[in-house]
């Protein structure tokens, strides 16, 4: 199982932290990670930028803005009974908004979930930055 922040995600973090290009708003958000994707995408690589090649996929906005506790950010998305009813192997975080396959920040692959209309699926992704 690969769990990774992609190169694109790391670059976005640097851009946001250092306001690269000066297009951010001091004290405000900068191209934030705002959506979660479920798909049958294959292995997440450092160079992955999109899940468009996946046969089954759905990218949805977070249920609410992510929260942070110290160095851990928590992102939650819920897929309703009528959504994402396919085999889910990969869960991704995106910063290009809902219903867009690009902007892959990172995620987890090699999962084995089969979603059906018998249930809704709430997925919580925690991202922790390590110190040392």
């Amino acid at each position: 199982m690969a769990r990774r922040i992609t190169d694109q995600g790391l670059q976005d973090s640097l851009d946001a932290t250092f306001n690269v290009g000066g297009t951010g708003t001091p004290g405000g958000a900068f191209d934030p990670v705002d959506a979660m994707g479920v798909s049958n995408f294959g292995t997440l690589l450092a160079g992955t930028t999109s899940i468009a090649s996946a046969g089954s996929k759905l990218v949805k906005a977070f249920d609410a803005a992510p929260t942070r506790n110290n160095l851990t950010v928590t992102c939650v998305a819920t897929f309703g009974t009528g959504e994402a009813n396919f085999q889910i192997t990969t869960v991704t975080l995106h910063n290009d908004g809902a219903a867009v396959n690009t902007g892959v920040y990172g995620g987890v692959d090699a999962q084995s979930l089969t979603k059906t209309s018998d249930f809704s699926l709430k997925i919580t992704m925690n991202v922790t930055y390590a110190n040392g």
Binding site: V108, T114, T124
Partner: protein, 46 residues
């Protein structure tokens, strides 16, 4: 990552757990207090 399944209306938690297992999902635990079936619970380090 934590993935939690909530049953549709008319489906019990136990029935959902059986359906999930039959579909090849790994049932991590049935949380009756929260009325969910946990189907994935990993701690990932990036």
């Amino acid at each position: 990552m934590i993935a939690e399944a909530s049953p549709r209306e008319g489906l019990s938690l136990d029935e959902l757990a059986e359906l999930l297992a039959a579909a090849g999902n790994r049932v991590v635990r049935v949380d009756r207090d929260r009325n969910v079936v946990v189907v994935a619970h990993h701690v990932e380090e990036y």
